[in-house]
């Protein structure tokens, strides 16, 4: 028996495995676990089934071509070659390609992106902008080659020919499509080219529509300040772009229908507005006529002479009342005046003197009211009603009171 080194043994096993037609090209079905993405860009994971496990590695170059993001628990089919990793003495699958088992990669990728963008709030109804009722400039982001653009233009022309259309031609499938679609949306915003954008394409396979499930397209739609109608594929096709857009149309034709009002409806509306105006005006004229009839049946207009006569009579009556009440007031005042003068006259000192009384004043002119004011020998002035004289007091005597 020969003794060899571990390195030699591992190398020997590797050469055996590398020469094996099954191991050099194998597709393995299993569930991902221990999934790790290293900063180097290499992916490491384990594939399991009920009976066992297989270590796997997927190098950066191959991983970049993945159309979905591998996750733990995901059922996949991994393709590659199985060989020994000499350092660990363990075999592993060098995975070159991987697809989702069952539903398909694109569906898986779609669900993943949908979940991610939904969590980021890109589908939030609160973010959705209202679509102008009467857009003036509509930007169409689509291929200028397909039937979709003609469908849209035909419908816009039929429904609402007052608008201008700016066509922003892009590729709608292939590797460059997402970048071109996102770029056209951003360009339209940058130059404020339109007040409404329709972004879409006609129907096709899920692969054909794939550009509209692109993350960059989703961000461009989300960030657009111009409202966007997403019009991709046929009725049952729903894309990420549909979720992010302000309005989802089932088809490109439907997108054009949703974008503008319909000419026939508008003409009908104009007719009904005209008849509403006519109706309102004739109602107003009718009520004005009625009002006029009421007015013209009034006495003032029916018999102006009689009306004036009545007014004149009223006026006369008022005048009489005014005068009589004026007289009454005057008479009252006059009576009061006579009473007051009579009173005043009765109280006049001159009046008293005519009745035989005299007024006695001291030399200083003070009117005597008390005996205290004089004594014997004083000279006083005495006034009568028709003259005065001076007198000397012989005796002054105060009345005795009991």
């Amino acid at each position: 028996m020969q003794t060899i080194s571990i390195t030699q043994l591992n190398e020997y096993i590797r050469s055996k495995m590398d020469a094996d037609p099954v191991l050099t090209q194998v597709a393995v079905r299993g569930e991902i676990s221990n999934y790790k993405l290293y900063p180097s860009g290499h992916h490491y994971f384990t594939l399991k089934d009920e009976g066992g496990a297989l270590k796997c590695v997927m190098f950066k170059g191959n991983a970049l071509r993945l159309r979905f993001k591998p996750e733990n628990g995901m059922k996949v089919i991994a393709m590659g070659n199985v060989t020994v990793f000499p350092r660990d003495g363990a075999y592993q699958l060098y995975c070159k390609a991987m697809t989702v088992d069952g539903i398909g990669d694109l569906h898986a990728a779609f669900e993943q992106l949908k979940k991610k963008l939904s969590a980021m709030g890109l589908f939030d109804p609160a973010h959705k902008k209202p679509i102008h009722k009467y857009p003036q400039i509509i930007g169409i982001v689509t291929s200028e080659a397909g039937a979709a653009v003609h469908d849209m233009l035909r419908i816009l022309n039929k429904r609402y020919p007052m608008c201008r259309v700016f066509l922003l031609p892009v590729r709608v499938q292939g590797a460059e499509a997402p970048q071109e679609i996102a770029g056209a949306i951003r360009y339209a915003n940058l130059h404020k080219l339109a007040d409404l954008l329709i972004v879409g394409r006609g129907g096709g396979s899920i692969e054909d529509l794939w550009a509209f499930n692109d993350e960059q397209v989703a961000y461009a739609v989300y960030e657009s300040e111009i409202p966007i109608i997403s019009a991709v594929g046929h009725e049952p096709d729903v894309t990420i772009c549909d979720y992010v857009a302000d309005l989802r149309a089932a088809t490109p034709s439907n997108g054009a229908e949703l974008a503008v009002p319909d000419r026939d409806n508008l003409l009908q509306m104009l007719d009904s507005m005209h008849s509403a105006m006519t109706g309102a005006l004739s109602r107003q004229v009718k009520s004005a006529k009625q009002h006029l009839a009421v007015l013209s049946s009034s006495p003032a207009l029916q018999s102006p002479q009689g009306y004036l006569h009545q007014r004149k009579k009223n006026l006369e009556l008022m005048k009489t009342r005014l005068l009589s009440s004026g007289n009454r007031i005057f008479q009252n005042k006059q009576r009061r005046y006579v009473e007051l003068t009579a009173k005043l006259d009765a109280m006049s000192p001159l009046k008293v003197l005519t009745r035989g009384y005299a007024m006695v004043q001291t030399e200083k002119g003070e009117v005597l009211k008390s005996i205290q004011q004089v004594k014997a020998g004083d000279t006083v002035g005495v006034s009568l009603s028709d003259g005065t004289f001076n007198a000397r007091i012989l005796e002054a005597k105060e009345n005795r009171h009991e």
């Binding site: 102008h132 009722k133 009467y134 003036q136 930007g139 200028e144 653009v149 003609h150 233009l153 035909r154 816009l156 022309n157 020919p161 007052m162 608008c163 201008r164 259309v165 700016f166 066509l167 922003l168 031609p169 360009y187 130059h191 080219l193 000419r263 508008l266 003409l267 104009l270 007719d271 507005m273 005209h274 509403a276 105006m277 006519t278 309102a280 005006l281 109602r283 107003q284 004229v285 004005a288």
Partner: protein
Amino acid sequence: MSKNKMTFEESMERLEQIVRSMERGEVALEESLKLFQEGTELVKNCSKLLEEAQLQIQKVSVGADGNPVMEEFADDSL
């Protein structure tokens, strides 16, 4: 207000406004007559626009300076 410069949207909004105030009957008869005249004119203009307008289509490309360049786009199927 120069009615010729009004956009279709502005014309429609003005019309709706006229119909509303006329239907509420809150304006004097003389004013109503003026509104009716203006409204009838607007209905005529809008209908004419709707019946005669032709969709204008232009293709946008990015010019050398980065600014948009418009060229007529003829769609024979219209």
